[in-house]
């Protein structure tokens, strides 16, 4: 400490101290009112870069969450379409079993054939199901309807797959290749569902003994084989939904922990900061009081 103290020194020191106290209070007020401890990178350079990384991770997770939700909706649409196809196929099977037992005359069989043909169109309608403007059964050709209504049973889509990214480096295939079930129709003789249905209708209409014979034997076998394929496809789709669901759960856990880390880095600890604010306020008041008293004192006050 210096030997001589001049009023100018006292004034300067008081002013410095007042400024420092007020500066600290302003800072704390900012933290409290914004709810953030890092208002600019220099407050905590490493923390600022962490905020950028964590925020980006969080946005990424919410993208993945979005993808998984979207995938689940896609799969739900596809599954309900496949259930529809399953019900229709069961109805065809009932007709087939009726037609095969020989108690119906040809006109009954013709009616049944008509029904089978109508049901075939319904199946193609279900196959043309769209999710958010995209055909779910066209492979990656999502803007092309996989089947046309009418006689042409050719598959118009492709065998490519579409996937949804559900995590870094993790993606789930959401396309179901329905052409492995429906096939390309009678002309292709691929034994797939559409071929089978067309054959059943043809055999019903044939009026021949071989035709009626085939209804109960080869046709029924083929149809049962097709139903088996459908079940497999449904199981695959269900598996994809499960994968998406579990990705979603994992994602939520991660989001919770990253949100917590982000909050720890950037959010104001209200309790601690409020206490600090009260302390700073007290210090500021004390500095003001001391300043107001000391700066006024001088020998002049006591001289006559």
């Amino acid at each position: 400490m210096s030997e001589r103290i001049t009023p100018a020194m006292v004034t300067a020191t008081t002013l410095n101290d007042l400024n420092a106290s007020l500066g600290a209070m302003e800072r704390t007020t900012n933290e409290l009112s914004s709810g953030r401890t890092i208002l600019e990178p220099s407050d905590n350079p490493y923390g600022a870069s962490q905020i950028i990384n964590l925020q980006s991770q969080l946005d990424g997770l919410s993208s993945y969450e979005d993808n998984a939700q979207d995938g689940i909706s896609w799969e739900n649409t596809a599954s309900s379409a496949m259930s529809g196809i399953g019900e229709i196929t069961q109805r065809v099977r009932e007709l087939l079993v009726q037609g095969a037992n020989g108690t119906y005359n040809q006109s009954d069989l013709d009616t049944m054939a008509l029904q089978v043909e109508q049901l075939t169109q319904s199946i193609k309608q279900d196959a043309n199901t769209q999710y958010a403007g995209q055909y779910v059964f066209s492979g990656s050709a999502t803007t092309t309807a996989p089947y046309e209504q009418g006689e042409n049973d050719e598959y118009k889509g492709n065998a490519e797959t579409v996937s949804r990214a559900v995590g870094p480096g993790a993606s789930v295939t959401i396309t179901t290749n329905l052409s492995t079930l429906l096939g390309n129709g009678e002309s292709s003789e691929d034994g797939k569902l559409l071929d089978t249905l067309r054959t059943i209708a043809k055999n019903m209409r044939s009026g021949t003994a071989e035709g009626k014979e085939a209804l109960g034997s080869t046709d029924l076998q083929k149809l049962d084989g097709n139903i088996e394929t459908l079940t497999q496809l449904q199981a695959t789709a269900g598996g994809a939904t499960d994968q998406l669901q579990s990705a979603l759960t994992r994602n939520e856990d991660l989001q919770t922990s990253i949100t917590e880390a982000l909050s720890n880095t950037q959010d104001t600890n209200i309790a601690a900061t409020t206490v600090a604010y009260a302390n700073e306020q007290a210090a500021y008041e004390a500095a003001l009081r001391a300043g107001a008293t000391i700066v006024q004192e001088s020998l002049l006050n006591f001289l006559q």
């Binding site: 210096s2 030997e3 001589r4 103290i5 001049t6 009023p7 100018a8 020194m9 300067a12 020191t13 410095n16 953030r36 890092i38 600019e40 990178p41 220099s42 407050d43 905590n44 350079p45 490493y46 600022a48 870069s49 905020i51 950028i52 990384n53 925020q55 980006s56 991770q57 946005d59 990424g60 919410s62 993208s63 979005d66 993808n67 979207d70 958010a132 403007g133 995209q134 066209s138 492979g139 990656s140 050709a141 999502t142 803007t143 092309t144 492709n158 490519e160 579409v162 996937s163 949804r164 990214a165 870094p168 480096g169 993606s171 396309t175 950037q266 001088s298 020998l299 002049l300 001289l303």
Partner: protein, 436 residues
């Protein structure tokens, strides 16, 4: 030999004059108590040559010397040159740190992080837009959104870049206006040179020009904020000032050598401004860093695409090069293909983002270091200034005490004069008259 009859009057008079000078000086100190750069003054007194009185004692034969009052030798200012040199050295560093911190704070606010409007957040939106496109690869709206997010991102890059270059050019403008013709350096140097001449004349006449010395010291203080200075006082009382490691002294006698090239570590405001914009300076490296983030972003995105999404390789020239119809979600023709969009969405958290986060960390720690340095130096400068004030500052309490002392001294001298007068009255009026 006896004492001159009127000697007592002379002695009392010299006391009156000395006390009056001291009172005037105290009055001047009080008047200048709040004048910047003023050093308190004090009166140096010395006794007059005594009058010898030989052999006054008949018994011992010893003589004596009779004091003959007091003379004012000079009025001097109280100042410690060593503290001045210290103050100026630290003041240069403080001014450099303050400048650095000011400029870097501006650069930091150009980045506008952390916020929802900064590059980081725009970058994140950009990846999210690509992810949306992967969900609906054929959607025109999703492609539109990718282009919009891209546009917003490049605009932010362009803005930050242009703000940084504005800050850089403002720094060099400031340098030029301080160091250029008619700038502060030249102005201070000319005033110091002029004062050198006047001080030399006054000192030659034997009159220390306290006020001019104070003004010269104050100008040197101000000059020290612009760059490092060293001051050497010459035998003729002129100051030779070297400035910012320049080859020739800035002021020598009454001559000014300016403009000159400053050295590599010139210090002060000028040194800091030159440093920030130098090829290795903090501002330059921030601008280069931002350019490199932009280049990385463009190349990492473009390498997944046949038609480049971004054009330009610097933050200032980065632009979106495609319209929404040209945005590719897939390399194949299939409308539902989304692998390219997925690849680009997966660039989130990649090199571009990491190097940007590192850049934000760098600007933050640059500012923090500069602020810390500034705070430390401020404390040092304040402490040295306190010491200077302790030596040179006017203390009103002290001056009041002095006033009383000198006033009492003046009263006593006047009383002495009265006593002398009465003594002489006895001699002149009453001598030779007896018994009346």
């Amino acid at each position: 030999m006896s004492i001159p009859t009127l000697q007592g009057l002379q002695t009392a008079l010299s006391g009156l004059i000395a006390e009056q000078t001291a009172l005037d000086t105290a009055g001047n100190n009080i008047a200048n108590a709040d004048t910047e750069g003023y050093s308190r003054e004090t009166v140096l007194l010395e006794p007059n040559p005594p009058i010898p009185i030989p052999s006054i004692s008949a018994q011992t034969g010893m003589g004596a010397q009779l004091g003959a009052g007091v003379t004012v030798t000079t009025i001097t200012r109280i100042r410690n040159e060593y503290l001045d040199a210290q103050y100026r050295a630290q003041n240069s560093s403080l001014s450099a740190a303050t400048t650095k911190s000011e400029v870097l704070e501006q650069a930091q606010s150009a980045f506008n992080e952390p916020s929802s409007a900064g590059i980081a957040s725009q970058l994140s939106n950009f990846w999210s837009a690509w992810n949306k496109l992967a969900e609906a690869p054929a959607s025109g709206a999703a492609k539109e959104a990718v282009v919009a997010a891209g546009e917003q991102l490049v605009t932010t890059f362009n803005q930050v870049s242009s703000q940084l270059s504005t800050i850089a050019s403002q720094a060099s403008e400031q340098y030029n206006s301080l160091a250029g013709p008619g700038g502060e350096v030249e102005d201070y140097a000319k005033q110091i040179a002029q004062l050198n001449g006047q001080i030399k004349l006054s000192e030659e006449a034997g009159q220390p020009p306290n006020d001019m010395l104070d003004r010269r010291d104050e100008l040197l203080d101000k000059l020290s904020a612009l760059a490092n200075i060293s001051v050497s006082e010459q035998p003729d009382h002129t100051d030779t000032v070297t400035f910012g490691e320049a080859a020739e002294p800035l002021v020598e006698g009454t001559a000014v050598n300016w403009p000159q090239e400053l050295g590599a570590s010139a210090g002060g405001r000028l040194g800091a401004l030159a440093d920030l914009n130098s090829p290795t300076g903090a501002l330059t490296s921030l601008r280069e860093g931002l350019d490199s983030v932009a280049a990385t972003l463009a190349s990492t995105v473009n390498e997944h695409l046949e038609t480049p999404f971004f054009s330009g390789e610097t933050a200032a020239t980065l632009a979106v090069a495609v319209i929404s119809a040209e945005v590719q979600a897939s390399g194949s023709e299939a409308s539902g293909g989304n692998e390219v969009a997925q690849e680009i969405a997966a660039l989130r958290g990649g090199t571009a983002e990491q190097s940007y986060a590192a850049l934000v960390e760098k600007v933050g720690s640059d500012v923090r270091t500069a602020n810390d340095e500034q705070n430390n130096l401020q404390t040092t400068v304040t402490a040295i200034n306190d010491q200077r004030q302790a030596v040179s500052g006017v203390s009103l309490d002290e001056e009041m005490t002095n006033l009383i002392t000198f006033q009492r001294g003046y009263q006593a001298s006047a009383r002495t004069l009265t006593a002398m007068s009465e003594m002489l009255e006895t001699l002149i009026e009453h001598t030779g008259v007896v018994g009346l």
